[in-house]
């Protein structure tokens, strides 16, 4: 025996593991934080932004003062960069035109592309901060907001060595459409906040000409222009610069940076402190490495998932083949003389039952040799007192299991040897079933089916699952591929010749059963598995005992694999062992368990920072596959499937223990520390097991029945968890489907005003457009839905389409401005190109000017075709006709009274005016009634509770609608209005009349009456409730 230096068991790796776990979580958290960066069209975290009426200009100084740029100057500003694709193109274009601009950069992107930031500074442009992760700063905690400022500042300091003083919050706009919270925070920190006079909304990609048009100041005053060089496709922005810059130059407008435009205020950068640069360097490095680590983890997740699915697939396929082969090839029965060797050390609790169960097999000529390995309890005495026929006792000094087995084999008389552990109970026909395979002269060993006897409690149940699913399925795999690496020490049969050729039992490893079986394989013998030959063994009943047992098994298996590593190069049976079984063990019993925690870590990371759908899907697929193969394994073993209710928990909790065991074993193997046998207290539970035919008795006794409340609880919990996961995934999918089905465009332009807590004014436009129609599109219908701040009621009033109003210019279409009917504004804006977004923007500007409203919170545009689709999707609406109406288009007469209208008839009805006494005002009333009828129908059908119907209607509506909902999604916006019942939508008439004209002369349009302007003033001042109360004659009755 070689002398070894005794050394303590390795423990340092646990400290390193704990440290590595902390470092991994910190790294992933950092990556999640950095990856959450948005930009461009990414919505903020909350609804809307507050108005900030206090800022008199777009440049807010630290002392609270606000400044404007001098007349004749324009400062071009670019947000959301640096972008590796678009920022260089913007810089190239600016350089070509000899123009300097101001770039507000996002911290995560600065860290990713510091060279671009250096180029911006080197080419003379100004730099400003635009937050670190492009979150809506107003909605963040003060600590998080501070982090956003600090990290961005350090990132820029690291990249350029400068401490910049300019700042622009994400989602900022004009001074009246910006959340003041981040602006005030910036002021306190000494930053100069730069908002915008002109918001081009280039992120919505309205076209290069539109961007250039929106960027050009109308009057002589100076302007700060908001554009983007990152956060999406900025090709139109780049193209717009080539249109805009020459136009500005031709007008004599000076294009400057913000600091140059404020020449009397020092807002230039200062050299950064060394400490700040160091911190910036550290975080940039951390950001890069964390991104790499997350990428590696993702790859490992895929590998682990593939391994898990591969193992499940291999097990399922092999088990099926093994079961069919067994059915097709029933082994012949033979009864060769058999010697059973039972090594025992301190097995007083179980030895009597073990020996009796062997004798009860009534196998002819059975010899039982019990080898007492120096027991200190009464094991030997119990065997002697049993005095059973055919049972011999061999007393030996304690020398270990291998030594005891060697002695027992030497003392045994017969050539067929069955090795059974001292705490294992066999069934009455186990011996016969075990040895029947020896009818095949090529078989050298047979593995029996060891089952867990002590299944009570969670630990026993989990081990029972493991034995049935993992161990027994793996044995079927091994036999199918012709290389069984382990005959369990609890129950196995060997030919004496195979033992001798294998060199007998060895003390080289702690897993002597694996070592022996591998040697038998390499000697050229077949090793098979008989699942019918069952025995019941006592599994560890404590976590400590389980840990020790698995540690020994895992370490011993590593020892055996290393010992037999030469089999990789062998031919025949040895080669099959080395090139099939050993790689299978390495891959699925060492590598896969070590990767398992990575799956769990990545799941946690994904839950926190990534969309749920695909990670949940992977988790569900893996566990569904595991459940399926587990059920199959239980059926093959003819086991009741009841214990499978603990499978989900076992996958999460038990797997961590096995992972730690494998890790400890691997470290121990590498380090070269010592590992010995440990104690495992016996409880005698195996002795309580009756043979298989009494398993029903056991079940009736309740030993195999878990409490019903526990099973129901876990079953319900599992079902609820699955339903919740499915609902979550399905809900997100549906929401995304709804979002994707609605067209979004900028219909409001500079009239967009988003007020999170104030009243809403929503502009509704219906256009006269049919499929295939060319030419100019007019707005047939213009309404405003006013929602007070309480969000529990709404007022709907029309803007008469023929009202003569001032319409601003639209350079993109060549319209120079002027007075015309309101509905013409849409036509002038859309032009022959039928750009409906541009038409909506011009109509919105005209409507804002007409009503004196500061702007609109949202807008929706629907065309004739789309309108009929919406009503058709609802299945029609109920309308009450208040005056007989003759349709000039269809000839249909709509009698007075309530009736059901489909999409076509509803559209036809609300378009009529000529046959109505009050003409267009009656038509406006009918249009308002129809909108309310649609809302009523939607509520009546309870669409919120019928996802499939809602999906159909939303998709029909989405296809027909174009919406602007500001920084929030359409679904979020609608959710904000869900408390308004249809009956609380009040229809209000806009007072007006035809402009007087002599008979026979052309119609001159409409003009509004003073009450209409009072209505608009009441909307503006938030006192529409009082106005309606004092002007009841203006309330339109419902149809």
């Amino acid at each position: 025996m070689a002398r070894h230096q005794r050394a303590p068991r390795p423990r340092a790796h646990w400290s390193v593991l704990a440290l590595a776990t902390v470092a991994l979580f910190a790294t992933l958290a950092l990556d999640g934080f950095a990856r959450n960066a948005g930009g461009g069209t990414a919505p903020p975290g909350r609804f809307g932004t507050q108005s900030a009426p206090g800022y008199a200009g777009p440049v807010v100084l630290p002392d609270g003062g606000a400044r404007r740029l001098p007349d004749g100057t324009v400062a071009l500003t670019f947000d959301d960069g640096p972008d590796p694709l678009w920022t260089p193109r913007v810089l190239d274009t600016l350089k070509r035109h000899g123009v300097k601009a101001t770039f507000f950069v996002v911290g995560t992107k600065v860290n990713a592309h510091p060279e671009l930031v250096r180029r911006i500074a080197a080419e003379g442009h100004a730099l400003g901060l635009h937050s670190f992760s492009h979150h809506d700063l107003g909605g963040l905690s003060p600590q998080r907001r501070a982090m956003e400022f600090n990290l961005t500042s350090r990132a820029v300091a690291r990249a350029t060595g400068q401490d910049v003083r300019l700042f622009r919050p994400p989602y900022a706009g004009t001074p009246t459409a910006t959340d003041p919270a981040p602006v005030e925070e910036a002021r306190r920190r000494g930053y100069v906040t730069v908002l915008a006079d002109l918001d081009t909304k280039d992120w919505s990609r309205p076209g290069a000409a539109a961007i250039a048009g929106a960027a050009a100041p109308v009057g002589p005053g100076g302007a700060v222009v908001l554009m983007h060089d990152g956060g999406g496709d900025r090709s139109q922005t780049v193209a717009a610069l080539d249109v805009l810059l020459p136009a500005l130059a031709a007008r004599g407008v000076r294009t400057v940076t913000v600091p140059d435009g404020l020449s009397d205020v020092d807002v230039g950068p200062v050299p950064a402190q060394r400490r700040e640069r160091a911190q910036g360097w550290a975080f940039a490095l951390a950001q890069r490495v964390s991104s790499w680590v997350a990428g590696v983890l993702f790859v490992l997740l895929i590998v682990a998932s593939v391994l898990a699915l591969a193992r499940i697939g291999i097990q399922g396929y092999s088990a099926r083949r093994h079961a069919r082969r067994r059915r097709r090839e029933p082994p012949g029965f033979g009864t060769p003389p058999v010697s059973v060797v039972v090594p025992a050390h301190n097995e007083a609790a179980n030895i009597a039952a073990t020996v009796r169960s062997l004798v009860d097999n009534a196998y002819p000529g059975l010899e039982v040799v019990v080898v007492d390995d120096g027991s200190t309890d009464d094991t030997a005495g119990i065997v002697e007192r049993l005095d059973l026929p055919g049972v011999r006792l061999l007393r030996r000094p304690n020398g270990g299991k291998s030594d005891a087995l060697r002695a027992g084999v030497a003392a045994a008389s017969h050539d067929v040897l069955v090795l059974v552990d001292g705490d294992t109970i066999v069934e009455p026909n186990t011996i016969a079933l075990l040895v029947r395979s020896f009818d095949d002269p090529t078989v050298g060993a047979v593995a029996g089916n060891a089952k867990v006897a002590n299944r009570g409690g969670v630990l026993g149940r989990w081990q029972h699952l493991e034995y049935v699913v993992a161990f027994n399925l793996d044995r079927r795999v091994y036999e199918t591929v012709g290389c069984m690496p382990t005959v369990p020490g609890a129950l196995g049969a060997f030919r004496r010749a195979a033992l001798e050729q294998a060199g007998g039992l060895s003390s080289d490893t702690l897993a002597e059963d694996t070592d022996l079986t591998m040697a038998v394989c390499r000697a050229g013998w077949r090793v098979v598995y008989d699942d019918a030959a069952c025995a019941w063994t006592e599994a560890p009943g404590t976590w400590r005992g389980l840990w020790r047992q698995r540690y020994r098994w895992c370490f011993g298996t590593m020892q055996a694999m290393w010992k037999h590593r030469a089999s990789v190069r062998e031919d025949g049976a040895g080669g099959r062992l080395g090139r099939r079984a050993i790689p299978y063990i390495v891959l699925f019993q060492i590598v896969q368990p070590l990767l398992a925690p990575i799956v769990d870590v990545y799941m946690l990371y994904s839950l926190c920072f990534q969309p749920l759908s695909w990670t949940t899907a992977i988790w569900l697929v893996l566990h569904a596959a595991q459940l399926a193969v587990s059920v199959y394994a239980f059926r093959l073993d003819k086991e009741p499937t009841g214990p499978l209710w603990t499978l989900p928990l076992q996958q999460v909790v038990y797997r961590q223990l096995i992972y730690l065991v494998v890790l400890q074993s691997a470290v121990t193997a590498l380090v070269g520390a010592r590992l010995g046998w440990q104690t495992a207290p016996r409880t005698g539970k195996a002795a309580a097991v009756q043979p298989r035919q009494s398993i029903v008795i056991l079940m009736r006794r309740g030993e195999y029945r878990d409490p019903r409340w526990a099973r129901l609880l876990v079953a319900c919990g599992t079902v609820l968890a699955l339903i919740s996961a499915a609902a979550l995934v399905g809900g997100r999918y549906l929401l995304q489907r709804y979002e994707d089905s609605v067209r979004r465009a900028d219909l409001l332009g500079p009239t967009a005003v988003y007020d999170r807590d104030g009243p809403l004014n929503i502009l509704l436009m219906g256009v006269d457009w049919r499929r295939g129609q060319s030419g100019f599109i007019r707005a047939d219908t213009v309404l405003v839905l006013h929602v007070p701040r309480e969000r529990d009621r709404a007022y709907l009033f029309s803007l008469p389409r023929d009202t003569i109003v001032d319409i601003p210019a639209e350079p993109a279409t060549g319209f120079v401005g002027g007075r015309d009917r309101l509905n013409a504004a849409f036509a002038y804006g859309a032009g022959e190109a039928q750009d409906r977004a541009r038409g909506g923007r011009l109509l919105a500007r005209a409507a804002a000017k007409m009503t004196g409203l500061p702007g609109f919170s949202a807008a929706a545009l629907v065309d004739f075709y789309g309108f009929t689709e919406i009503v058709a999707a609802l299945g029609g609406v109920d309308m009450c006709v208040d005056a007989e109406t003759h349709s000039t288009a269809s000839g249909v007469v709509y009698p007075v009274g309530c009736q059901r209208m489909n999409g076509t008839s509803a559209l036809d009805y609300v378009r009529q005016r000529k046959s109505l006494a009050t003409g267009d005002y009656a038509r406006q009333r009918h249009q308002q009634q129809l909108i309310k009828a649609i809302a009523r129908e939607a509520r009546r059908q309870n669409l919120a509770g019928d996802p499939t119907r809602l999906d159909r209607i939303v998709r029909a509506a989405g296809a027909a609608l174009t919406v602007t909902t500001g920084p929030v999604s359409p679904t979020q916006f609608l959710f904000g209005l869900h408390r308004i019942p249809p009956e609380k939508i009040i229809l209000v008439r806009t007072a007006g009349h035809s402009i007087p004209h002599p008979p026979g002369t052309p119609y001159l349009g409409e003009e509004l009456e003073p009450e209409a302007f009072d209505l608009f003033a009441a909307v503006r001042d938030g006192r529409l409730d009082d106005f309606v109360a004092t002007h009841p004659h203006l309330v339109n009755q419902e149809g």
């Binding site: 025996m1 070689a2 070894h4 230096q5 050394a7 390795p10 340092a12 400290s15 390193v16 440290l19 590595a20 902390v22 470092a23 910190a26 790294t27 950092l30 600090n150 990290l151 350090r154 400490r275 160091a278 911190q279 550290a282 975080f283 940039a284 490095l285 951390a286 950001q287 050390h345 301190n346 097995e347 390995d373 120096g374 027991s375 200190t376 309890d377 020398g399 270990g400 291998s402 552990d421 001292g422 705490d423 003390s507 080289d508 490893t509 002597e512 011993g556 590593m558 020892q559 121990t668 193997a669 590498l670 380090v671 070269g672 520390a673 010592r674 010995g676 046998w677 495992a680 207290p681």
Partner: protein, 54 residues
């Protein structure tokens, strides 16, 4: 099998090698790994502003 027994010879290391030298090597690896991990956490801490560099 169960009960207490003396350590048998089956507890030899898997990869038999010279003693002393292997143990020192392993210790060096753990120490280096630990130092790198602590250093990495320090980098994250400095970058996040939780730790202030000198």
């Amino acid at each position: 099998m169960g009960g207490r027994r003396k350590y048998p010879a089956t507890d030899r290391p898997v990869f038999v090698d010279r003693f002393g030298r292997r143990r020192k090597l392993v210790l060096a690896v753990w120490t280096l790994t630990g130092v790198m991990l602590v250093g990495w956490l320090a980098v994250i801490g400095i970058g996040a502003g939780l730790l202030v560099p000198a």
